[in-house]
Structures are given as structure tokens and as C-alpha cells.
Amino acid sequence: MSVETTDATAHTRALLTTADPHRKTTDRTMTVLIWGAFALAMIPLVSLLWTVLVNGVGRLSVDFLSFSMRGIYGGDPSGGIYHAILGTLIITGWATLISVPIGLLTAIYLVEYGRGPLARSVTFFVDVMTGIPSIVAGLFVVAFMTIFLDPGTRLGIMGSIALSVLMVPVVVRSCEEMLKLVPNELREASYALGVPKWLTIVKVVLRTSVAGITTGILLAIARVIGETAPLLVAVGVTESINFNAFDGRMMTLPVFIYRQYSQGLSTCQEGDMQCVVDITYQNAWGAALVLIVIVMLLNITGRLVNRWFAPKLR
């Protein structure tokens, strides 16, 4: 063997056995950066949840949850958020009643019947609709309702319709995913028994996917229950309790938070023991805590429903 070949072999061996330090450093750096990106995202999450908890928990009491703000002015700390909780539940409830049938039927259409240009455009525009700004949904309802009502009218149900515009596409997407998971064999078995298609869908397809659909609906509710802008535009504000979504303005938790925040600090006379300077901020934090708890409960329940009741397909 010549000397050169030995040299070349040694060179190759060196290349193969020793790592290039530069590549190693890059790899390490990127690993750190990527872990760092995740850590960075956790900072606001932790900070936000912690702030809401610390600031909100002091305001929570039975009174806070069971009184409205009717007749409460200035730094008076005796008001509560009962009217806002009620309004949120009623408005979101109506929104759910409107969106779930439309969303579920559309999902059934897309999965069981959908062919051709109509189905393609429905899929596409449902996706596009998920991006409608929430305030535009509120404006739409106001613009639409002037056909039937006086321009200045604000009703709870208008908020529900606005929320439905935002909620329907979410329901369609999640129900569609769930219906697709139902194995075809189940449908075929049902057809083979002579069951008509609609009955197969109702009794077999929907029943198999009911857990997933429930999850999807709960997550969709969690998504819209915190919406503020459309309600601010379409429902207005009130300080009193209102059970009727078809008559008069309603208060909701998100709007309550915004309103308390925008009122700012109150001015107290010296020696007034019944006056708290930053009561509006305390109210806002307390309501924020309640709202976040509701949203988290919906999220967690949704995921647990899916985990516990989902049919074992494998």
C-alpha cells in the first residue's frame, strides 16, 4: 500500500469518527432554543392564570355570586355578578340551541351525502367562516335585525345569533371529524339489515359518535362563551337581572369585565368606610376568575367525556 492511501484512509476515518464541533453546537443551540420557545409560551399562561387567581379570589363570596349591580354606584362593594352569570348562560344557551342543529346537520351532509361542488364550497366556506372577526358577527346581527326592529334595539337573542355565526363553523368542523371516525362497516351492516339510510345515520352513526360530538359541542361553547365584542355591540349592557332573551338588554360576564374595567377607579370621600377605591378592578378580576373557571370546566368536561364514553374502535 502506498503512503497516500493510508493517509486518505486515516483522513476518512477521522471524518467518520470525530464529530464536527460546529454541527454539534448548532444542534445544541437549536435544542435549547426550541425548549426555550415552549417555556416562553408558558410564561404568559402561568402569569395570566396566576394573576386572575390571586386578584379574583379575594372578591369571591356568596354575595358576589348572588347579587346584581342594580343601584350600585361608585366605590360601593356590595354588588355582584349574578345578572352577568345568568345572561352568559342564557345567551350562550340560545346560541347552542341555534348552532347545534345547523352544525350537526351540515356535518352529516358533508360526511354522509356530500359530493360535488356544493359540498366542496361548504367545506371551504366553513373553514373561512371560522376566521370571521367576532365584532363583524355582532355588526351583522345589528344590520340584519334593523329589518324587523327599531335600530336602537338590543336584545339577548341578537347576541345569541351573533355567537351562532361564530359557533356554527366550529361545531361543523368537530362533528365532521367525529362522524368520519365511525367505521364504514357499521353503516354497511345496518344497510344489510335493511335499515333506511336516515335511520342508519340517526341510530348507528350518531349513536356511535355521540361522545365525540358532545366533546365538540362543549369545546365550541367554551370557545364562544368568552366572546365580548359581539355582545357589546348587539346586546348592550344593563345592571339588572333579565331572564328574557327576547326582551331588553342583558349583561354577560365578558361585557361585565369590560364595563367594570372601563369605569376605572372610583373616587371616595375620606372616612367613607363603605367605599373601595379599586372596587371596579376587583369586580373585573372576580368576574374574570368565574369566567375562566367556567371555560376550563367546559374544556375539561369535554375532554373527559371523550375519553370515558368514546367507543373503543380498535
Partner: protein, 338 residues
């Protein structure tokens, strides 16, 4: 739940009975009675959604029309914020500019971080933990925007204020950081940071999905050539996921453009100015925040003017979202992964 497209799209089930070129005898029996009714109900629901979207565009246009056709004098009489001799376009232009500026800054801040998180969950995190960690990021999307606003105003703005002062002192020559730094921190830069946090989850969710779709063979081939983990990502994962990440970013952009409450609660608004000075007070406002700010007090032509600005926002977000969705759809057709 974020509205990502599922990567796999199994063949559409059903539809054999009425689809197959049925033997003549069976024809009448496959769809009759309630079967047909049910089919029409389902199809009707699908068509109804298209009708809603069309109605949104139509009613906004109809109600915006009086403002679009009104003279400058009528407008400045009806809307207090529009001074004499200013057209609607001259008024809305700065709002559109502010909206785009805030959203683009948020996007610039959020996209690299979201890509990092996407890679972290798809390739770096221990597989057992990945799902839980992904859920943590999704939690950011579950928090109501009004709470972000509260947090941004009362917690984040004071924290960021010294940072903005430092930027203003040291990098003041850069157009974005020029001008008098606001003493309150209620500026567009703070808004962008909050918006960036808010759009992180959607960008992360979509990019995570596309990164997970990278063909295993590509990655293993790169590994077999001796690539380090980062090199695998650079040569196999990122090129494969590029269009997915672009559309994810555009979805995030659409979200940021339409965000109302966080902007409304943090920014100290300014009108009629085109300004790049994101650290200065009262220089910018966004369309959505402007509408929410003024809608309660508006009446008559002022409502029409607000709806006209809303129409502008609707058109911008629709354009952004449709482009993003079109990229996703195209990608789905050509992607080798499915």
C-alpha cells in the same frame, strides 16, 4: 378546540345505495319517504351556512351604503371623530394601517415561537408528554380575550414599559422605535405582544400537524446520512412543512386582524395619523377596537359609518383567510403524506 384540518381525510363513507348506477328495479326503492326528506334537510343545512356567509356580506354592504355614498359634510356632522373636509377613506385608511401594523408585528413575534413549539411537540418533547404539552398551549386559546385585555393593561404594560424605554433610548434611530416613548406602556407595541400570545395556539396547532405529517422515511434517510436532530429538521421537516407553516401564519394573521377587546383595553387610541412609532402614545387604533369604542354612542349615519369600517375589516380578513385555506387545500391535494 382549534380548527385545524385533520391530516387524514378518509374516503367519504355512505352513498352507495343512491350513487351506484342502480339496477333498474331497485331505483325507486332506495330513496323515498323520510330518506329523501332527511337528505334535503341535511343539504339544506349546508346551503344555509353558505347563505349566512352571503347574508353577512350583503347586510354589511347594504347598511354601509349610506355612509359610503354620503358627502364629506354629512359625514363630519354625523361622526364626531371625522373633522371637516375629510372623506371616509381618509378616516378609515389610518385605521386599516393600524390594524395591519399591529397584526403583522404580532405575526412576526409569534411565528418563530410557534414554529419552535410545534417542533418541540412533534420532535423534541418526550412522546408521552407531547399531548399534554400541546394541550397546555391550546389553553392559551381558551382564555377569553377580555381577560387578555385586563391582564395586558394591568400586568403586562407595566412590565414592558422599561423595555420600551430601553428600546427608545438605544434604538431610537430605527423608525419603529422613534418618537416620544409613552410613559404608560399603553402603546401599539404592547398590543402586538398580547396579540402574539393570543395567536400562538392556532399557529402552533397547524404547524404541529404538518410537522407530524413529515414522511418518516425522509427523516430516517436523513438520520442514516448522519444528520443531527436539527439537521433532520432543517433538511426534511421544514421544507416539507413550509406551505403549512405559511398558511398557519396567515390564519394567525386573520385572528390578529379581527381581535377587538385586547386592543380596545390596552391601546390609547389615535386617529387620522399614519405613524410607525409603535412606542408612542395615541398614534394608532385598529378597526375592531374603534367600532367597539364608538358603537354604543352612535346613531344614524354614524352607525352606517361604523358598519362601513366593519365591512373593510370583513373584506380584509376574508381575503387573508381564503388565501390561507386555499393554500391548505392545495397542499392537501399534492402532499405525498396522505
Amino acid at each position: 378546540m382549534t380548527t385545524t384540518d385533520s391530516p387524514q381525510r378518509p374516503a367519504r363513507p355512505g352513498g352507495h345505495a343512491e350513487r351506484a348506477p342502480a339496477r333498474r328495479r331497485r331505483r325507486g326503492t332506495t330513496e323515498r319517504g323520510f330518506n329523501r326528506v332527511f337528505r334535503w334537510i341535511a343539504t339544506g343545512a349546508g346551503a344555509f351556512i353558505l347563505a349566512i356567509l352571503a347574508a353577512v356580506a350583503l347586510f354589511l354592504l347594504v347598511r354601509a351604503w349610506p355612509a359610503l355614498t354620503a358627502s364629506e359634510d354629512e359625514l363630519s356632522d354625523a361622526v364626531g371623530r371625522i373633522p371637516e373636509g375629510t372623506s371616509l377613506l381618509e378616516f378609515v385608511g389610518p385605521l386599516i394601517f393600524g390594524t395591519l401594523l399591529a397584526a403583522l408585528l404580532a405575526l412576526a413575534l409569534a411565528t418563530p415561537v410557534a414554529m419552535g413549539i410545534g417542533l418541540f411537540i412533534s420532535h423534541y418533547a418526550p412522546p408521552r408528554l407531547a399531548q399534554v404539552l400541546g394541550y397546555l398551549v391550546d389553553l392559551l386559546a381558551a382564555i377569553p380575550s377580555v381577560v387578555y385585555g385586563l391582564w395586558g393593561f394591568l400586568v403586562l404594560a407595566p412590565v414592558l414599559r422599561p423595555v420600551w424605554f430601553w428600546l427608545g433610548d438605544n434604538l431610537g434611530w430605527f423608525p419603529l422605535f422613534a418618537g416620544q416613548v409613552s410613559a404608560t406602556g399603553k402603546v401599539l407595541a404592547t398590543v402586538s405582544v398580547v396579540l402574539a400570545v393570543m395567536i400562538l395556539p392556532i399557529i402552533t396547532a397547524v404547524s404541529r400537524e404538518v410537522f407530524l405529517q413529515t414522511p418518516k422515511l425522509h427523516e430516517e434517510a436523513a438520520l442514516a446520512l448522519g444528520a443531527t436532530r436539527w439537521e433532520v429538521i432543517r433538511v426534511a421537516v421544514l421544507p416539507f412543512g413550509r406551505s403549512g407553516v405559511i398558511s398557519a401564519a396567515m390564519l394567525g394573521l386573520g385572528r390578529a386582524l379581527g381581535e377587538t377587546m385586547a386592543v380596545l383595553m390596552i391601546i390609547s387610541p389615535g386617529f387620522l395619523v399614519y405613524s410607525l412609532e409603535i412606542l408612542a402614545a395615541s398614534q394608532h387604533n385598529t378597526i375592531a377596537a374603534y367600532i367597539a369604542l364608538d358603537f354604543a354612542e352612535a346613531s344614524g349615519l354614524a352607525v352606517n359609518a361604523l358598519i362601513a369600517t366593519g365591512l373593510a375589516l370583513f373584506l380584509i380578513t376574508m381575503a387573508v383567510n381564503m388565501t390561507a385555506r386555499a393554500i391548505v387545500a392545495r397542499r392537501k391535494e399534492f402532499s405525498g403524506a396522505n
